[in-house]
């Protein structure tokens, strides 16, 4: 209910004075309705160059074959599957924000869900391209589908987690896309009703004829809630199945029952780090400081501490179980991870993922924008190393010592990886240029209840517990978008 005013001790979700419904529309649509800024162009040019590198390197792979990669007969999966798992994991935060936080009625999700979901979709696109690229012969991808064929029909092996993954990733991508687009409809209608000429025609087509009538909204809310309800187990299932690609094998270091929860926690961990990396820049460049506030940043950092700690516990548990199992192959795999030729990858992973998020216990650091940004990148580096350690370090020491090998990436693999980051950022930059990067309709819901100005009005009206008022004022100090001088007299 719009008129519901919440307790004063809760921090505001929209800061700034003189925020109106119209101002929210104007602020959010500024990048869509105006010509792009210089910062956008610089970002776009750099990322599209990187994306072209991706096109080149993937074409090279398709033309000359997987032999152009650094794989050998011992290490058959390396940067490809590392990249795949890394991107899928990054995608998970978007669904967590849009679905799980909706079910938990966390209103702070309203201003970040749109861009996080867009990030999910682009990350899953990058992940899917890795799967097709690592086939070497992309036209063979059709054989992963259970289609009637001239061999019998010979169906796919549904007992294999790799086939489960085909179904999981494709379902995840399409359901996320539907969720995202349905949520976009009211905001596209807003652009449509302000636009003129050909822009109006395009947005009119994209808006599906949205009007915002009572029944439309009522059904929209039902649909959002049910989509959130089914996306929650879906997102957990996706990374569970990704982990089963490894866990159902007999490979020491992979064959562990802890993998599903450990992968899911890691996915959310890296996903939130990527959301931080993107949003800290986006809020500054697009001037969205009043909607994506320090409260949002701090909340995400708290989730990073939580999931980072779960990941840390999982690493230690893996080690303990390897010892406790008494299986010498398993024990060797883990000792080799920490002290073998890939020790540097293992310790990069440990320091980036286990130690660095713990720094966020210090309030000063987790409310510092430059620190949060750097740490979010450190976490993503760490999570890339995690997948590299799991995949390459487990594979490179085979059961037969004569097969032992090292893995050295070629320029093709490195280019595909850098290129996939370019593809991701190109898509994201195009997104913030043509679609509203903040869910306007959902942010407008918060204006009367949870905005700084609404709370200030409660303060000026008086009748509040002095202790609570003091608590509230102190909580505002960390915000970079709040003018503390205004609170001297209130």
């Amino acid at each position: 209910m719009a008129s519901h005013s919440e307790s004063i001790i809760r921090e505001p979700l929209i800061t700034g004075t003189d925020i109106t419904y119209a101002k929210i529309t104007d602020d959010v649509l500024a990048p869509v309705e105006n010509t792009p800024t210089k910062a956008w162009w610089i970002g776009f040019i750099i990322s599209s160059i990187a994306a072209s590198l991706w096109v080149f390197a993937v074409s090279w792979t398709f033309w000359f074959g997987i032999g152009e990669w650094g794989l050998n007969k011992t290490v058959g999966w390396a940067w490809d599957i590392t990249g795949f798992v890394w991107w899928v994991g990054i995608g998970h935060a978007g669904t967590l924000i849009s679905a799980v936080l909706l079910l938990f009625r966390q209103n702070w999700r309203n201003s970040i869900n749109r861009s996080a979901e867009a990030m999910t979709i682009f990350a899953v696109i990058c992940a899917a391209t890795y799967i097709v690229a690592h086939m070497g012969r992309p036209w063979m991808a059709v054989y992963s589908l259970p289609l009637p064929n001239q061999y019998g029909s010979l169906w796919v092996n549904f007992n294999s987690p790799l086939i489960w993954d085909v179904f999981a990733i494709s379902t995840y991508f399409s359901v996320s896309l539907v969720f995202w687009y349905t949520g976009l409809l009211p905001d596209i209608a807003t652009i449509r009703d302000r636009a003129k000429g050909w822009r109006q025609k395009i947005y009119s087509t994209l808006s599906f004829g949205w009007t915002g009538s009572v029944k439309t909204w009522q059904r929209f809310e039902t649909v959002s809630l049910i989509l959130a309800g089914i996306s929650t187990p879906l997102v957990l299932s996706v990374h569970t199945i990704v982990s089963m690609d490894f866990a159902t094998s007999l490979e020491p270091g992979w064959h562990t029952t802890i993998f599903p929860p450990y992968f899911v926690a890691g996915a959310i961990f890296s996903g939130f780090a990527m959301v931080q990396t993107l949003l800290l820049v986006t809020r500054k460049v697009l001037g969205l400081e009043n909607y994506i506030t320090m409260f949002h940043i701090e909340s995400m950092n708290k989730i990073i501490i939580l999931t980072g700690s779960i990941v840390g516990v999982a690493y230690l548990t893996e080690f303990f179980i390897a010892w406790y199992s008494g299986v010498e192959y398993e024990q060797y795999a883990f000792i080799n991870r920490a002290t073998g030729p890939y020790w540097w990858a293992y310790w990069s992973m440990m320091s980036c993922n286990v130690i660095s998020p713990q720094l966020f216990w210090v309030k000063k650091w987790r409310t510092s924008i430059p620190f949060s940004w750097v740490l979010s990148i450190v976490v993503n580096i760490g999570m890339w190393f995690e997948r590299f350690v799991i995949i390459v370090t487990s594979l490179h020491r085979d059961y037969i010592p004569s097969s032992w090998a090292m893995f050295h990436p070629t320029w093709v693999e490195v280019s595909i990886f850098i290129g996939s980051i370019g593809v991701f950022f190109t898509l994201f930059l195009l997104f913030i240029r043509v679609l509203p990067s903040v869910a306007m309709a959902e942010v407008k819901l918060l204006l009367k209840s949870s905005s700084e100005q609404a709370k200030k009005k409660i303060l000026t009206d008086g009748h509040q517990d002095a202790e609570q008022v003091q608590f509230y004022k102190e909580s505002l100090e960390k915000f970079d978008s709040v003018e503390m001088a205004d609170y001297q007299k209130v």
């Binding site: 109106t20 009703d193 599906f208 949205w210 059904r219 039902t222 049910i226 989509l227 407008k444 819901l445």
Partner: protein, 178 residues
């Protein structure tokens, strides 16, 4: 006879708009529809709109998806071509769980959203039937069919008293057609 087709009460605050609905209903003025830039809870109850039944549709689509997936797996792995994989049972139900689950979710999502679009007449390229262009931005619009609801001045006064920032007497139903 005036040429007014629709009377629109434009509010800049959702609570005042709710008050407007209340006042109109007190005076027995039927409301055609209400257009808002964001979902306002409580209007549907006030206007006597029943709860959406999309949840039931979603459940049925989910059941369909689960059944289709499980039957497909059964047909392919057990009935059509049972393969000997290490002598293990063909009808390995635990292996059927992931794909059955995924398709349950897939069918639920697509079926429910398609039903939503169908029931609400949303599809790409549909001409937007907008009564006021600011209803998707910062105006909460109550629309009243002018036909039969006279005198119009009384309706205008009720809306103004309830806090409408503007009352429009539109000669056309939709303004978005040109």
């Amino acid at each position: 006879m005036s040429s007014t087709k629709f009377i629109l009460g434009l509010f800049d605050d959702p609570d005042e708009m709710m008050n407007g609905i209340h006042k109109l209903q007190e005076n027995s003025v039927p409301i055609y529809d209400v257009y808002t830039p964001m979902p306002i809870h409580g209007i549907d109850a006030k206007l006597g709109i029943k709860d959406s039944r999309l949840g039931y549709a979603a459940f049925m689509f989910g059941c369909t998806g689960g059944t289709v997936a499980f039957s497909m797996l059964y047909y392919m792995l057990v009935h059509d071509w049972p393969q000997n994989i290490g002598g293990k049972p063909h009808f390995a139900i635990p292996d059927f769980v992931p794909i059955t689950f995924e398709w349950t979710v897939l069918f639920t999502a697509f079926g429910m959203v398609a039903t939503f679009f169908y029931a609400t007449h949303l599809f790409p390229g549909r001409t937007p039937r907008v009564m006021d262009l600011r209803a998707t931005n910062d105006r909460f619009v109550i629309a009243i069919d002018a036909k039969g609801n006279i005198p119009h001045e009384d309706i205008t006064n009720i809306l103004k008293e309830a806090g409408a920032v503007e009352v429009k007497h539109n000669d056309r139903k939709y303004v978005s057609y040109e």
